[in-house]
Every structure is written in structure tokens, then in C-alpha cells.
């Protein structure tokens, strides 16, 4: 690994001087917008910082105590949990199916490109497209439902419907992208395994269960870790879909007040920066726990191939 022209004196510090120059802009960016804010975020969470006053006093862990006693926090957690469960469940199953089919049927870039379209456009655009498609009065989906004899559904207006609806919308947005990640994993499985299994008379289902699933596990684990983290952070779709047309984001009542939205509102509508920061730290801790748990469960680091 040593550079080709390393002299004994240069050895210790190596290319430090050059490295510092190359690293300087990115290092500034990292320190100013990631490292210091992360530390400052923890500090703000220990104060009663108010956005308007732009100052706060150190109050220890009071904010965290308040978080755990806050019914709206637990509500946000529940709402987000429901969203993540529906979204990740449907999205992963659909993406698996798409990836397997794609692997069998076509390598066409056009097909893969089309499935990526929903993922490429802004969340705000996605939310608006579906607000229109699912509109209670003139949305085309409700017209179809009526056609088969189902009463129109206020997808965004009913507490029981709003989170499953938004979860479904984001499944639509992410299924193609997730399928591409899984598809890439499928391509790493040696074709000879399937050929050998076919010679032994294995059926399609057996091959899927015995070869595809186990060998895909490391990739699937990685995909799940990434998508679950992303799913917990749902914000744009909720804010636009429930905040449109004079509506209040998070509604009806609190049925779609996900954790991101709740943090956002505490910070920028109620000016409670300290409390919002404590919520953010709590979310971060929660994500860490969920990720570590997933890694353990799915043994993400190991491969069955070797």
C-alpha cells in the first residue's frame, strides 16, 4: 500500500500535507454541517432554546423526561410504526417479485428506467399526483371503485385510511428502486447453481427457497436496513398530501403526524428548539437500535456463498 517513492523521513507523515489540501473543502463541509451540528444538536436538546429568543438555558434532561411523558410523541411513534410496517412490507415483497421477474424476462434498460421514474421525481410531485388520483370527488381511482360498486373513499380524510394510503404511495415510489437493488444482488448468484438444481429435478419454488433466498440474504439485509431507515424519515409526502387545500399537516386530527413532522412542527411552528432537538436525538437513538437489531437478526455481514 505504501507509495512508490516513500523515503524513510516521509514515511511517518506520508502525504499528510498534500492530503490536507485535497481534503480541506470536504473537511470544512463535514465539520461545519455534520460534525459540529451533531454535537450542537445534542447540546440544544439539553436546553430550553426558543427559536424566537435565539438562546436557551441548560436544563439537563428535562426535555427527555417531557418526551417520554408526551402522548403526542407516542402517537407519532405509533403512526410512524404503522407506516413503516405497511410500507416496508408491501415494498419489499413487490420489489422481490419485480426483481425475480426482471431477472427472468428482460435486461431492458427501458423497462428498468420506467420503473425508476416514480423514484426520480420530487416527493412533492408524487404527493400531488396521488392527491389528484385519489381525490374523493373527482379522482379517477374512486370512479373505478364506484364502477365496481364500492363507495368513494376519502383516502386522506379518514384517520384509518390516511397512513395506509401514504404508505402505499411511497411503495409505488420506491418499489422499482428497491427492485433494482435486489436485482443487482440476484446477478451475483452463480447461474450454475440453478442449472445443477434443474438437473436434480428441483422445481421453480424449490430453487427460489433453497438457492435464491439464502444467497440473496446479505443483499436483502442491506436493502432492508437502508429502506427501513429511510421509511422512518417520511416527511415530504405527509406534509404535502395532508397539508394541501388549507388542510393541517398531520391530519385528520393526529392520524398522520409522523415523527419527522412532529419534530418539524415543534421546531418551526412552536419555536421549541430544545424540545425538538430532544425528539431528534430520541429518533436517532431509535434508528440506531433498529439498525443494530436488524443487522443481528439478518446477519447482514455474512454471506452464505463462501
Amino acid at each position: 500500500m505504501a507509495a512508490a517513492v516513500a523515503e524513510p523521513t516521509r514515511r511517518k507523515l506520508g502525504d499528510l500535507k498534500v492530503a490536507l489540501i485535497f481534503l480541506f473543502p470536504a473537511l470544512v463541509g463535514f465539520v461545519v454541517f455534520y460534525l459540529v451540528p451533531a454535537i450542537r444538536g445534542v447540546y440544544i436538546s439539553l436546553t430550553d432554546w426558543n427559536l424566537l429568543a435565539n438562546e436557551g438555558e441548560f436544563i439537563g434532561i428535562e426535555n427527555y423526561q417531557a418526551v417520554f411523558e408526551d402522548p403526542l410523541f407516542w402517537n407519532a411513534l405509533k403512526v410512524t410504526g404503522v407506516y413503516v410496517a405497511i410500507n416496508i412490507g408491501s415494498q419489499t415483497i413487490l420489489a422481490m417479485a419485480i426483481a425475480v421477474m426482471m431477472d427472468r424476462l428482460t435486461r431492458s434498460v427501458t423497462v428498468r428506467g420506467i420503473m425508476l421514474l416514480p423514484w426520480l421525481v420530487p416527493n412533492v410531485v408524487v404527493a400531488l399526483l396521488w392527491l389528484w388520483l385519489l381525490d374523493k370527488n373527482v379522482g379517477v381511482v374512486n370512479t373505478w371503485l364506484e364502477f365496481v360498486g364500492i363507495e368513494p373513499i376519502a383516502f386522506f380524510g379518514r384517520p384509518n385510511w390516511v397512513m395506509p394510503t401514504i404508505a402505499g404511495i411511497n411503495t409505488w415510489r420506491h418499489m422499482g428502486y428497491t427492485a433494482l437493488l435486489i436485482f443487482a444482488g440476484l446477478k451475483t448468484i452463480p447461474g450454475s447453481l440453478y442449472e445443477a438444481a434443474a438437473v436434480d429435478g428441483a422445481t421453480e419454488t424449490e430453487m427460489f427457497r433453497r438457492i435464491t433466498l439464502p444467497l440473496l440474504r446479505p443483499v436483502l439485509a442491506l436493502v432492508l436496513v437502508i429502506t427501513v431507515i429511510g421509511s422512518f424519515q417520511v416527511f415530504d409526502t405527509v406534509a404535502v398530501a395532508t397539508g394541501g387545500f388549507g388542510g393541517r399537516p398531520g391530519g385528520p386530527i393526529n392520524a398522520s403526524r409522523v415523527i419527522y413532522l412532529y419534530i418539524f412542527e415543534n421546531a418551526f411552528s412552536r419555536n421549541k428548539f430544545g424540545y425538538a432537538a430532544a425528539l431528534a436525538v430520541t429518533l436517532f437513538a431509535l434508528l440506531l437500535v433498529v439498525t443494530i437489531f436488524q443487522m443481528r437478526m439478518l446477519r447482514a455481514g455474512e454471506s452464505d456463498l463462501s
Binding site: A2, A4, D15, V36, L180, V240
Partner: protein, 297 residues
């Protein structure tokens, strides 16, 4: 064997049924992916009032281009029909996404080179700290970053919207480092022995060799910057600095709950997505391939 493995067994036993069902499923997925876009375009070219009375024809109802013209600012807005200042919003979005892309790709490439090719104490530890940045949820740094931008007096300015993404993202550094590690060393070593410094090696050898991945990263960065909503919503609320996402969300929240301007909204929506769709159409293969690359590595 271009169709993939497993087909051998399938073709022997049930050649047709399975494949037909699979193609049926794929066609359905493709239709579901495309239909909302088609429906938005169809709506954008319909007369708004007719949408409420004339059913669900697959083609535009009472076709018109007036909605699109309104959004583009070619046609005056009548009372009640809120929209956004297209020229301003387009300029803001293009400036923000372009400046972020140029800065982020160049500076991240330099950092990636320092991590992949230079020898210095603590290199791997610093890289791990950078990687840890990938784990931080944006909302966590949102509040302190907002305070910083406000203290700098950059609220409601384009620099304020650009700043956090301009110098690096952990993903960009990671993506390029991964690629640089894979480049054959012999070329650069020959250059270094010939007396070329690291700067010349970087700019004359590494960058040209990596133009493919750099370009891919640039496209992904541009799309991400264009789509960003939360940060510009927080620091760019004034009309003069609205980007497309923020402008669209304000446009929506200003609409009446009863009989909103759907045709206008869909025009704005498709116009906001159009630059990204064109960019993607031109570069689809690279974007599609890169997702597999970043997904696996």
C-alpha cells in the same frame, strides 16, 4: 442464456404459462408506474371546470394549453388562480442544483482521492467518521444548521439553501472512493515516478479515467438537489428564493378545498418534474447501472 438462469428447467416443463403470467405481472407494474404521470399530463391539458362534470375520459377534456401557459407565466392569472412565478422558481432551482452539483462532485472527488490514494496517519479513522455521517438523520442536523444559517444572515438567500450540500456529502465521498480504489495503480505510479505531483496526477490521470462515475454521481446529485424539500422549506420560505418543490407545496396549500385548480396544479407538477425526466431520459443507462453499483458495494 440472455434471459437468465432457471429458464432451462422452465422451458422443458411449462414453457408458456409461467412466462405469460410473468409478463402479465411486469406489464401491470409498468402500467402502474406510468399511469399517474399520464393522468397528470392528461389533466394538465384539460379545461379545469370540465374536470368536475365531464367524467373520466382517457384523453384531455376540452383540450387547452391555457393551464400550462399560466404556469409558464405566458397567460395572466385570473382571480383565485394562485400559481408560482415560473421564471424565478426555475432560475432558483437550476442555480441551486447546478452549484450544489459542481461543488459537491469536485470537492468530494478530491477528498475521495485523499482517502483512496494518499498515505497519511489517521486516514482510516477519519474515513470512518465521515461514513458515520451517513447514519445521521437530516432532521438531527436540521435545527443546528438552521441556527447557523440564520446567524450568518443567510436565511432566504440562495447561498443558505446551497451551503450544506456544496462542499461534500458522505455518500459522494464514499461512492467515489469506492471507484478510485478500483483504478489500476500502475498508470499513476508511472506518472508519480516521472515527477508529476499529486495534483497533476489527480487532474490529468484520475479525473479523466473516472469521468464515467463522476458524471453518474453528478446526475444523482443534481436529481437529489432538485428534489430536496425539507431544507429549502426551512431556510427559503420567501417567494424570491422558492425552488420548485417549495413553490408547489405553497401552491397546493393555497388552493381552496372545494373545486381546486387541478388542471393548474397538474401543469405545475409536470413542469417541476420535466427537467428531471429529460435529464433521466438522456442518461437512463448510467443512472440505472449506478444504482446497482451503489447498492452492492
Amino acid at each position: 442464456m440472455s434471459v437468465g438462469h432457471g429458464t432451462m428447467a422452465a422451458t422443458k416443463q411449462r414453457p408458456r404459462m409461467g412466462r405469460v403470467a410473468a409478463w402479465g405481472f411486469m406489464t401491470l407494474i409498468i402500467l402502474v408506474s406510468l399511469f399517474p404521470f399520464y393522468w397528470a399530463i392528461r389533466t394538465a391539458f384539460s379545461t379545469n371546470s370540465a374536470l368536475f362534470t365531464s367524467g373520466q375520459s382517457l384523453l384531455p377534456i376540452q383540450p387547452t394549453t391555457i393551464n400550462v401557459e399560466k404556469v409558464l407565466g405566458l397567460e395572466p392569472i385570473t382571480a383565485g388562480g394562485a400559481t408560482f412565478d415560473f421564471t424565478t422558481v426555475l432560475t432558483n432551482s437550476v442555480v441551486v442544483a447546478t452549484v450544489i452539483t459542481i461543488g459537491q462532485v469536485i470537492f468530494s472527488a478530491m477528498a475521495a482521492y485523499a482517502f483512496a490514494r494518499l498515505e497519511w496517519p489517521g486516514r482510516d479513522a477519519v474515513f470512518l467518521v465521515f461514513l458515520a455521517g451517513l447514519m445521521i438523520p437530516p432532521i438531527f442536523t436540521l435545527i443546528p444548521n438552521f441556527v447557523l444559517i440564520r446567524n450568518l444572515g443567510w436565511l432566504n438567500t440562495l447561498p443558505g439553501i446551497i451551503a450544506p450540500f456544496f462542499l461534500m456529502t458522505p455518500f459522494a465521498v464514499f461512492f467515489l472512493r469506492q471507484f478510485f480504489l478500483g483504478i489500476n495503480r500502475s498508470l499513476e505510479e508511472a506518472a508519480l515516478i516521472d515527477g508529476a505531483g499529486h495534483f497533476r496526477t489527480f487532474f490529468r490521470i484520475i479525473l479523466p479515467i473516472s469521468s464515467g462515475p463522476m458524471f453518474t454521481l453528478a446526475i444523482l446529485t443534481y436529481i437529489t438537489a432538485w428534489n430536496e424539500f425539507l431544507w429549502p422549506l426551512v431556510v427559503g420560505r420567501e417567494r424570491e428564493v422558492h425552488v420548485f418543490t417549495v413553490a408547489l407545496s405553497f401552491f397546493t396549500s393555497q388552493q381552496p378545498g372545494i373545486a381546486p385548480d387541478w388542471a393548474g396544479l397538474m401543469s405545475g407538477t409536470m413542469i417541476a418534474a420535466l427537467p428531471i425526466l429529460v435529464l433521466f431520459a438522456l442518461t437512463a443507462r448510467k443512472v440505472v447501472d449506478s444504482i446497482q453499483f451503489s447498492g452492492i458495494k
